[in-house]
Subunit: 344 residues, 4 copies
């Protein structure tokens, strides 16, 4: 069976094999590297050449990047596939109105900011966006924890996975953090870094080779040995590491997208999922610029003061000298408060 | 404060008052009756005159009715406000593909039917639709039980409700069913019917009058008595009956819409919510005609045979004479089976 | 058909009629008033006399009030029916541990506070609680907007509703707020208050009377007129006002309960739903006292500073004189910030 | 840092290492093999020795297995950690009743069967159960797609994963199915089977060795090389294959548990997740025996006849000779119908 035949029958698709073991991949610029196969590029081009008439709310800035793969990490991407609504659709729903209304842009903006500031979240659920994402399995496992979304993932029971693995760029190869059990410390250097990179690359190449061997399949997807049956796809894939790439369609409403971004575009999130969230922040800005600014002001850039921390701030503002000892805060909370106030 | 001023400041809107106590309203044809005020009609007209260029999937049959209020019951409507996706978007997600694919329509149709028949529901979540609905409160209370949807309802804390009440048409004034504790029996006739209609109409008119009295507000929205403050809107509304109309924006994905329709376009559903579901079935047909047909074949028109019922059918097909006594079914289940097989 | 017979066949139950039109109801102390019928009291007593052996986590303070109706408003109540987990179950799940662990209480408390402070919400989903609540329809309509919960409501299609209506106590009869479109102002007094109370009481009594008339049913549930059929229950109820009481079983996890309480035990919530939330806060304190304290510190008593507001606070702490004009905040946001800092 | 020290500080736990590369593990009987470390066994023993007094609904048959690990696959298990409700709690919620009621068991059973047969699902949401599950990553990825549940997973960012990998027993090493793109065919035999097993075992051992090497950690959890920092845990784990075991707390209501079981205890599910579902069916039987039987009759053992298939069955029952050609069914649907009717 050759690849083109497989493309016709698969729930999924087949990409050209790429080699994760060469320096070249990591070294080449993100923009320059090959994200899609020829036939995929052709499909995207056709989609982008379409132009339909619609009565629906349309956002020119977002249409501009529609269907285009935006590169993330070494082989991943985010593509916007479809969307529903814009900034005005939020105020329209909040007002349960019959039309776009005669409100001025300034009033709309004021209402959107008011709604977000006061956690009136339901109007933001009235906008929806659909992405096609290519991402490593371990990122997918963090991502899928966000339950209020719709997802269709490429099936490794049904189709053969591509030979694409995430190998961190050297500047992301970090040591375990000593202070934060869940974070990264300094960047690894010298021999240790080289050895780790080598282990990751070799491990990926070897695992994929054994995957094909168990499937009894060669690089073109043909049987290697006519005497053998090949292990079932759903079993052969169990030996693949979690840095292999998968892909899915992911659809979410604007409120839940912002919740996702507030957690995943955050310094506490693992770098690799943050890379996706950062790209999606740009998409958010194109799609709903007023909401994006409100998100930055009231969610991403905002800070939550606990009741005891608020009490401390009030005392400080009243001119009192507050120390951890007389603050009623634990050492940890005191440290966190100083950080919040930019005093650490 | 006059109505037009109120329109400018309300989270919500104000409609022209209509009189639920006259025969005229119920008697006039649905199409003819006035669903929108002049200014609302103008807003709808403006929306419908828009034409934007988009790269997105577009469905001409659905665009045709976009924003148009489709009448339901005596004062209600369903308006399609926005949508995302079409039949092809389902197969595209199922295949996690890069483009619309080169699949023929027949293959797409086969896949859609296969997916629905085998309860692979996630690809159907990839389409989304948004409605503006005007509906009586008691219908809204049944409707809201479907939790996997987004909703923004007109706020009676924030704005004054319209003088619009659902009064059943004479042919829907049914007696309590004797056999089904949760259903309707024969249509009421004669004096009893007349009295019930009278009670409903008078009750609605009186409740609305007292609502305005407590608000200290006349029909134009002006204070009745300058000496009085008027009861808070959030309290005055507690005396309004559940046949008053409310309205909301309701957004749902295709899978959950079909689930809603399978339960609410069903004979066991109360007539009034079924009236909405029936109208939405027509929308479904315009939007995703292949999925609509699969829905009719595999969900709406399908029947579920329990394990013991299936055993009975097999025995019947083998030529055995099966009776309730030797069927291993309770009397009730036996009756249900005969109904399923069209033998009752 | 008499009441006792109805009790045997209903999905639901039947309460003794009470009279919302007499002063007595509202005047009597909450504790003293009759919440349950004799037979219901007997059922509760039996449940409370049970004592089973279990290996499950058990919370003595919560067991104390199990099944007991806690009064809310004039005829409502909250009853705790069942629960799963305690404070330690949260840390156990966070650690994915095999037992209760050897951690000291202080460590558990520290971890719970850390988790809540940093919005690690999933461990709080590991505790669950089930309530039986009696509440006015208009409160139920606000409550049901919280979608992440399970609910079984008494069906007015299946059974006849009780003659119980919420009539606000005089001190809660407030005028419309002039400054807040969604809030209450001063308490109504004198003739206006008397008239409103009278309208509410008379309206409730009349609506219930007409409900029985349409059902063709007398106070004992027997047919009034043997010649008549009676309107279907699902139709007769459409004329009842939204201050009639309904009831439901409501089950929710601890995380979503706290979300509910943070929105509904808040001054912006309507008083009537707040009355329920306040009672449930006491339940929370009995059930998971450590989490309760963390909730008070990090959610209920906490405040969110937007990015621009945080910038202002930093400048203030640095000794700068900040005014609205040089604050980069809108007049409204400036006012909100002063309120947050207790300076308004 | 030694293991015991690690146990004290981890969000998670540490197990004794076991060797997936020896025949012994797979060969030994499930019951005999070591599922827990000494200290874990001790913790479970302590939990099981507890006995508390409670007023809550208690199920003796389920208490019997509480906290006990039930073995699944080669290193996995299912433990019931907590539960809420029983069969009677379903009818109690359906009736919104005040007590356990005076209904006879037979009436309760009839109501439960009626509710499930007619898809009245909300009363089943009133029972809840919490599991602790140890499972391979690729099973976890299928499992997590069920969104209406609560989950806390062991964090490989925070803690080091155990050296435990799923290696299929020889009788489960199946070839790819020729007819079903998503299924297994015959069992592999001879040299091919031996080679696949060898590849899986060696691959697992090697991947874990390299994981420790990148972490710069030896088998006791101590640093291997004092000069090195060790790669961050969140990065080192990306080279581990998806047959490594993880574990989580998983909590779900009875309705959603049955939905999970209907899809995962089904022949179309992958064997490895079905192994978990089968064990959980036994738990279901202990917990709610009446519901379990209804589940078998109306869901697991039931079959769905499409509208056209139902038409065929009716014609057959009327004595007509129906063939695919005159059936109005596609070849595939015809084949499916014959299977449903046990005639293939």
């Amino acid at each position: 069976m050759d690849r083109s035949k497989q493309e016709k029958t698969a729930l999924g698709y087949s990409d050209e094999p790429s080699d994760p073991t060469t320096e070249q991949g990591a070294a080449s610029s993100l923009r320059a590297r090959k994200l899609l196969s020829e036939s995929q590029e052709q499909e995207v081009k056709e989609l982008r050449s379409n132009s339909f008439q619609t009565r629906r709310t349309t956002v020119a800035d977002l249409e501009e990047v529609l269907f285009e793969p935006i590169p993330v990490l070494d082989h991943g991407f985010v593509r916007v596939i479809d969307y529903m609504g814009d900034d005005a659709a939020i105020t329209q729903a909040a007002r349960v109105s019959y039309g776009r209304g005669t409100k001025k842009l300034r009033e709309d903006s004021g209402l959107i900011r008011y709604l977000l500031r006061h956690r009136h979240t339901t109007p933001f659920e009235m906008c929806e966006i659909k992405f096609h994402v290519k991402l490593p399995l371990f990122v997918a496992r963090q991502w899928i924890r966000h339950r209020t979304a719709n997802v269709n993932e490429y099936s490794a029971r049904y189709s053969v996975l591509d030979r694409e693995f995430y190998i961190p760029a050297p500047e992301h190869l970090a040591a375990q953090s000593a202070s934060n059990r869940q974070g990264r410390g300094e960047v690894l250097e010298g021999e240790e870094a080289a050895e780790v990179l080598e282990l990751l690359k070799r491990g990926a190449a070897r695992a994929y080779g054994e995957y094909e061997q168990m499937l009894n399949q060669d690089e073109e997807g043909n049987p290697r040995d006519a005497e053998r049956q090949g292990l079932a796809r759903e079993l052969a894939r169990i030996s693949l590491p979690v840095n292999i790439y998968t892909q899915w369609y992911w659809k979410v409403d604007l409120h839940n997208l912002m919740h996702f971004l507030s957690l995943r575009a955050d310094p506490h999130a693992q770098y690799e999922i943050r890379a996706y969230a950062d790209v999606m922040l740009d998409v958010l800005k194109r799609w709903v610029p007023i909401t994006y600014q409100a998100f930055e002001d009231y969610i991403a850039g905002a800070t939550n003061l606990s009741a005891p921390a608020l009490a401390v701030v009030k005392r400080m503002l009243a001119g009192e000298e507050v120390t951890q000892e007389n603050s009623n805060l634990s050492a940890r909370e005191w440290r966190e408060l100083l950080e919040q106030l930019g005093r650490s």
